[in-house]
Symmetry: none
Amino acid sequence: MMPVGQPKWRRRKEARPGEIVAAALEVFAEKGFAAARLDDIAARAGVSKGALYLYFETKQELFAAVVRDAISPNIAVVEAAAAAIDLPFAQTSRVLLGRAADLLASSPVGPVAKMVIAESRNFPELARVWHDEVVSRVLGVMSGLIERAQARGEIRPGDPRFHALALIGPLLMGVLWGEVLVPVGAAPIDLKALASQHIETVLHGLLAEGGRR
Amino acid sequence: MMPVGQPKWRRRKEARPGEIVAAALEVFAEKGFAAARLDDIAARAGVSKGALYLYFETKQELFAAVVRDAISPNIAVVEAAAAAIDLPFAQTSRVLLGRAADLLASSPVGPVAKMVIAESRNFPELARVWHDEVVSRVLGVMSGLIERAQARGEIRPGDPRFHALALIGPLLMGVLWGEVLVPVGAAPIDLKALASQHIETVLHGLLAEGGRR
Amino acid sequence: MMPVGQPKWRRRKEARPGEIVAAALEVFAEKGFAAARLDDIAARAGVSKGALYLYFETKQELFAAVVRDAISPNIAVVEAAAAAIDLPFAQTSRVLLGRAADLLASSPVGPVAKMVIAESRNFPELARVWHDEVVSRVLGVMSGLIERAQARGEIRPGDPRFHALALIGPLLMGVLWGEVLVPVGAAPIDLKALASQHIETVLHGLLAEGGRR
Amino acid sequence: MMPVGQPKWRRRKEARPGEIVAAALEVFAEKGFAAARLDDIAARAGVSKGALYLYFETKQELFAAVVRDAISPNIAVVEAAAAAIDLPFAQTSRVLLGRAADLLASSPVGPVAKMVIAESRNFPELARVWHDEVVSRVLGVMSGLIERAQARGEIRPGDPRFHALALIGPLLMGVLWGEVLVPVGAAPIDLKALASQHIETVLHGLLAEGGRR
DNA sequence: TATGAATGAGAATTCATTCAT
DNA sequence: CATGAATGAATTCTCATTCAT
């Protein structure tokens, strides 16, 4: 039925690390670093426990790989998006926040952020990677946009970093809400809706048109 | 085996639970639940390992106690503050955000939040307590203020919950920043300053006076 | 109502050791030596854990006291009964087995025997006490009666010790049955009935009158 | 940390459980359940402590396995022997008691019975297994033989279960004697001799031929 | 005497890591 | 490359014993 001596196919060994990291992401996100068992990760990846050690030296290495892998693809996207747009700040920020909401909803940034928050003391290196590769780049992009808009007189003065936090803070809150509280019965938050209401609020202010300062 | 003349222990029944919880808070905040060793907690509390079990049945119980103890005193403060103020929303929110910044800076809410985020999957009950006792109460207070202000026409329409997130999200981000990134070298954030810039931004909008939508 | 300055009564300290031993018997019989907790014993005796150590040096001492206390009163009874009777062996043995059945049913010999069996390796001294104070005395009495009956030609020759076992073995089995199997759902055994059927069987033989050998 | 060239372990998956159970039997029989240390069992089995958990979930599981393993092979033997014989009761019972003596002397029934007696309260399930798989089966076989012999008029009337106890009780006593008292210096009992004297006593009665009732 | 808070050695259990196959 | 049995250090939890009061 099968050509003799012709193995149907062999699982490409190049795929393995990715499969393992994906399985590890699930388990780490679910249990946290310490409570995650390599047994579970191996089982979920469909390999033996020993095989993990063919690709990663230690549990910590694997954890680091999970964080790095989750980060890298997403950052460039943001930076590229920011660079590609050249519109008034109001427009730009609307687009960017929409993109961010999509990204946060569709990528494992939420779980990974949770892990980094949880293990920042135990793995300072990870927090550092996260800071350098994610937070400061995102904040850099945002601050850049804001500064330029300020220079053009489009938006109010003020610490651009704080402004950036004002823009993305609520989105991050929404993500953590989804990670932490929804599994426990809280009403889910629609990130897209949050993003679009929020950007208008921040742009025009909470106070009604005739609102006094 | 024991230095003579050195009393091995001193009877401190009433004080002990508090001391233990305080020590546990430090260690849990530093290491996370799983990586925290009861040995360390006991040592930091100045008691023996066994003494822990005189007051708390298990490590999990102790963890729960830490979270509960950190929460209770702070929530009433917020609710009371909100109820006590009867001013236009702009004033009220300025005061409240200032208070919140003080509270976040001076209480262990940050570390505890980190712990809850980290262990929400392993201890859903804790996430539930946090939700019921902290998040929904705070959000309830804020939403109430916002709804009333909307009814008075003071502020824009829109989901009050989202508006509430817009107000406090950045502060929480600031707290997590302090917990996670500052220890690895990021520039500290002045919560007070963040709060006061943020409230003005949100109230009046990022766009400059003549800013177009 | 009560003469002033006249305490109603004070628990006589002489009663304490007995109360403790009684409580300990219950707990040891239930859990075995190692699994018995001094906390439980103290609670059941209505004293503090520390008080145990006013009367007994160690847990082992207490265990030994339990065994000794349960033994001593009962042995003399048996020896006295045997010495007091001077009748043909058939009569004597009927009376003795009846007495034994009563004794086994009404005294803690069963539980204590169970404990001694269980802990004989860990507390050889106890097994020795049990042997010297109980088994060999009882067996001595019985063997004496049997030897004398043999000498009078009343009963068959044969090792008197084996004959003694033939007489009391089934009773002991009945006791262990009650200790071990009844709590687990087995039908209870009526020791009195067992004793009276058994003695006739042993005296006259299982085989029917005309039974061939 | 490890002598080089010394293989730390050898793969013995099929043999291991049996070796562990055998080692556990020794240690449990010696110390009782609670006082037995898994360290000792592991050492005696020539494996590490951790290896125990590859085959048995908990100490209790291991204990249960010990009891079960000791039981199963021996029961069928008895039942088969009883079924295979079709002789007058006197003959049958002589053969069976002889066989029983052999079995009790050569198998770990004694130690296991001791363990079951000791831990019946803590592990009711074990007592139940012992009752269902051992006691009631053996008693069933014996009672059946006795009832049929009674129907044929071969032996006296009377509760067959009591008769069965009369037959095997002394043997069990002999076994417990060997377990409990011999190690502390009591004279050993020759089970074979006990069995053969006992069966004649029970069959024909203790009373001498012309003995009066 | 009596208490009970405190101790700390001890034991079961877990799990990252190794390595013969 | 891959496996999975085996290891053993690490950690939680228990409980007999002590001792200030």
